[in-house]
């Protein structure tokens, strides 16, 4: 049979964001995959060069709606290191709490999406309901369900009062019970096992070769986790484990994510119970030293996020280079898809939890709300950003 080219996207029910795969298939078997990410470019890296640090943080939160805290924290910790700032312990704890809550809501979202990709909508509805609990907690802490804007250079924006901590701790047992439910479900639900086991399998060697990161890598026994390897915040002082699995297929990735849900819950509980006193921020200098260069690594829910930051002695960055986990994972997806069934595309692609908004970093505001008075940003908008409205994966 001749090869058929099946376009998946940029508009397709399996995709929550615009991306285009050209799937070359032979009958129901996939031969090759070509990716075009060009539907969501917002020029954030360029915009970041023209804004001071205070205004870059909210911008970076908009790189992605789901891992907004990751990008902001990754940037903030890099800049703080360049400024040689000592961040108060309490601020570090609060950042960790928000980071782990974010991981929980991202993983719950993923679990729902993965279930939806195989048509198992019940689990989708259930996980998204439980995700609401996490988002309520985040709203209680920060005032926002997504884009929490918790970070400032030098600390965090708002504190967690003892009452808040108490009310959050009261909600955790319910979540824990629900997570237990999902563990049971993932291990016993027949159709889920049929669709997840042995699908999109990547061996340890392949993962290393294709440079996959995050839960995708850990599901194949590659125990890279920036939280342990390059400790930041307080990860080297609190109890937690890197979750790995040996299966290497979509099922393995599910198990890793559910395991991480538990670990994150434990971390949030530990941090809330042991929240140290003290200030939540320090005064940060206006400018960063000239010629500074840092590679800031952060374990986002989807994998290792890398910000490469250059400073030039002003209050703006010279260069901000963002390497998102999804971009690192694409190569492995393209490899995992070869020789699989056409029907497995959605679930294999979903298994890396792709975030295209992160990956291509494009349209921020809709062009009518020209709120920023920044001239170069306007120029950018006029020139570039009218192209396509971007989705903000929420």
């Amino acid at each position: 049979m001749a090869h058929v080219v099946i376009p998946v996207g940029p508009q397709h029910p399996a995709l929550k964001e615009p991306v285009n795969f050209r799937v070359v298939a032979d009958g129901e078997k996939i031969v090759r995959l070509e990716i075009d990410l060009s539907y969501n470019h917002r020029g954030i890296e360029k915009a970041a060069e023209s804004r001071d640090f205070i205004r870059v943080l909210p911008l970076l939160e908009r790189v992605c709606g789901i891992c907004s805290h990751s990008h902001a924290t990754c940037f903030a910790k890099g800049i703080e290191e360049l400024m040689q700032l000592e961040i108060p312990q309490r601020a570090q704890y609060i950042r960790t709490i928000v980071a782990e809550l974010e991981r929980m809501h991202s993983h719950l979202l993923w679990l729902g999406v993965a279930a939806h990709e195989i048509g198992f909508n019940t689990l989708f509805m259930w996980t998204w309901r439980d995700r609401e609990t996490v988002q309520d907690i985040l709203e209680e802490i920060s005032g926002n369900r997504v884009n929490y804007n918790m970070n400032e250079i030098g600390g965090v924006r708002c504190d967690i009062s003892p009452e808040q901590a108490g009310s959050i701790l009261k909600r955790l047992p319910l979540l824990e019970e629900r997570i237990g439910e999902y563990v049971k479900m993932a291990k016993s639900q027949r159709t889920m096992l049929m669709r997840f086991c042995g699908v999109g399998k990547l061996s340890r060697a392949e993962i290393l070769r294709y440079g996959a990161v995050g839960p995708t890598a850990r599901a194949s026994g590659v125990d890279y986790d920036a939280r342990r390897d390059d400790p930041y915040l307080i990860y080297n002082t609190i109890p937690w484990n890197v979750v790995t699995d040996e299966d290497g297929d979509v099922f393995g990735r599910t198990k890793v994510r559910i395991g991480e849900l538990r670990e994150s819950l434990g971390m949030v509980r530990y941090c809330l119970e042991n929240l140290p006193g003290g200030p939540i921020r320090v005064q940060a200098p206006k400018t960063a030293p000239s010629g500074g260069e840092i590679l800031s690594r952060y374990e986002a829910p989807r994998g290792e996020l890398v910000h490469f930051i250059r400073t030039n002695g002003t209050d703006k960055v010279e260069r901000l280079d963002i390497r998102t986990p999804t971009l690192a994972n694409w190569t492995s997806v393209a490899a995992a898809l070869v020789d699989q069934n056409l029907a497995d595309i959605p679930v294999i692609v979903a298994a890396i939890d792709p975030c295209l908004s992160c990956t291509s970093r494009l349209v921020v505001a809709d062009r009518k709300s020209g709120k920023t008075g920044n001239i170069s940003w306007n120029e950018l908008r006029n020139g570039v950003c009218r192209i396509r409205p971007g989705s903000n994966r929420i």
């Binding site: 058929v4 099946i6 376009p7 397709h12 029910p13 399996a14 129901e28 279930a115 939806h116 990709e117 195989i118 048509g119 198992f120 909508n121 019940t122 689990l123 509805m125 259930w126 309901r129 639900q189 027949r190 159709t191 889920m192 049929m194 669709r195 069934n341 056409l342 029907a343 497995d344 595309i345 959605p346």
Partner: protein, 324 residues
């Protein structure tokens, strides 16, 4: 029965087309509501299926480039007509007045028409998703049709009749076929689920893979009518399973006068179709979608074997004359 108006009323009003259409939409609503409640959602208001139908009927019909318009218009109508005809032979308030020896074969045949139509629509759409969906539709048809037919044959074999109404009558004297032939009942339910393309057998219209399969290019009234045809199939299918395995609309005691007998028959019919629908909805909620190759494996290895075993058992019982 001699009144010439009676057949006309039976076909057109009750329990024919008018009742059928209303009941199909109500059943769709109940299906959606059960699903929603099981998934922890609120679910639609009761008139949602009616509103959907009216809305879709009033929407613009979009012709994909290069299709045969008349064929595209006619195909959904054929599907709807086929399943509505099939309903005439399904006992609702008592035996169908049109029953004849062999109507089960006709009903099964008519029930297959929407599937064939879906394949045709997919093939005609000149759209890669629709074409793939169409191919998957027929592939699936070949997998579930054999066990489904075999499963529905077993009550006929046992009752020694090819008429649905006589099979119902036979069950009234003996036992429900669901009790006598549990394997056949389960196979029939699975087959019906596959026929209606509901999870886990919604492979041809797998939303996240091929958009809507053969439905992709259907718009406006074509979509409305095709949708209605599937809803009617749900009624016919569950009515058929209820008749073949659950004793149909027969009331355990004889009821006088005639209108009361008809009413009690209708209530029994409604209750039994709800039960079948509930089972189908439960399957739908509890499963994800399997792949076509997995369905192929399961269908031929297990479901078809189970159906054959059931037929063999029935034949053995028949020859041993356990049940007179």
């Amino acid at each position: 029965m001699t009144d010439p108006l009676f057949p006309l009323l039976y076909i057109l009003v009750f329990p024919g087309f008018l009742f059928l259409l209303a009941y199909a939409l109500i059943l769709e609503y109940i299906d959606r509501w059960i699903t929603a409640r099981m998934q922890n959602r609120v679910g639609p208001p009761w008139f949602q299926p009616f509103a959907d139908l009216i809305k879709m009927l009033s929407k613009e019909v979009i012709d994909p480039a290069g299709i045969d318009r008349r064929l595209f218009d006619a195909a959904p109508l054929v599907a709807l007509a086929a399943v509505m005809t099939a309903f005439i032979y399904v006992p609702v308030i008592g035996s169908s007045p049109f029953a004849f020896e062999g109507d089960i074969v006709l009903v099964l045949y008519l029930l297959s028409i929407p599937t064939i139509i879906l394949f045709l629509l997919g093939w005609l759409s000149r759209n890669v998703y629709a074409a793939m969906g169409g191919i998957r539709t027929v592939t699936q048809l070949f997998i579930y049709e054999v066990p489904f037919f075999l499963a529905l044959l077993t009550p006929a074999l046992m009752a020694g009749s090819w008429s649905i109404s006589s099979i119902v009558a036979w069950q009234q004297q003996h036992l429900w076929c669901a009790i006598l032939q549990p394997i056949g009942f389960i196979v029939a339910l699975i087959g019906l689920q596959a026929k209606l393309e509901r999870p886990p057998f919604d492979i041809p219209e797998a939303e996240t893979e091929i958009v809507a399969g053969p439905w992709t290019e259907l718009t406006g009234r074509r979509l409305a009518i095709m949708h209605l045809a599937v809803d009617v199939s749900l009624v016919v299918g569950s009515g058929l399973v209820a008749a073949m395995f659950l004793g149909g609309p027969a009331f355990p005691w004889s009821v006088e006068p005639g209108w009361l007998a008809g009413l009690s028959g209708l209530i029994v019919f409604l209750v039994k179709t709800f039960c079948v629908l509930f089972l189908l909805s439960a399957i739908k909620v509890a499963t994800g979608r399997i792949r076509i190759d997995q369905l192929n494996d399961i269908g031929w290895k297990y479901i078809a074997t189970a159906a054959l075993v059931q037929v063999a058992l029935v034949l053995a019982i028949q020859s041993a004359r356990v049940i007179p």
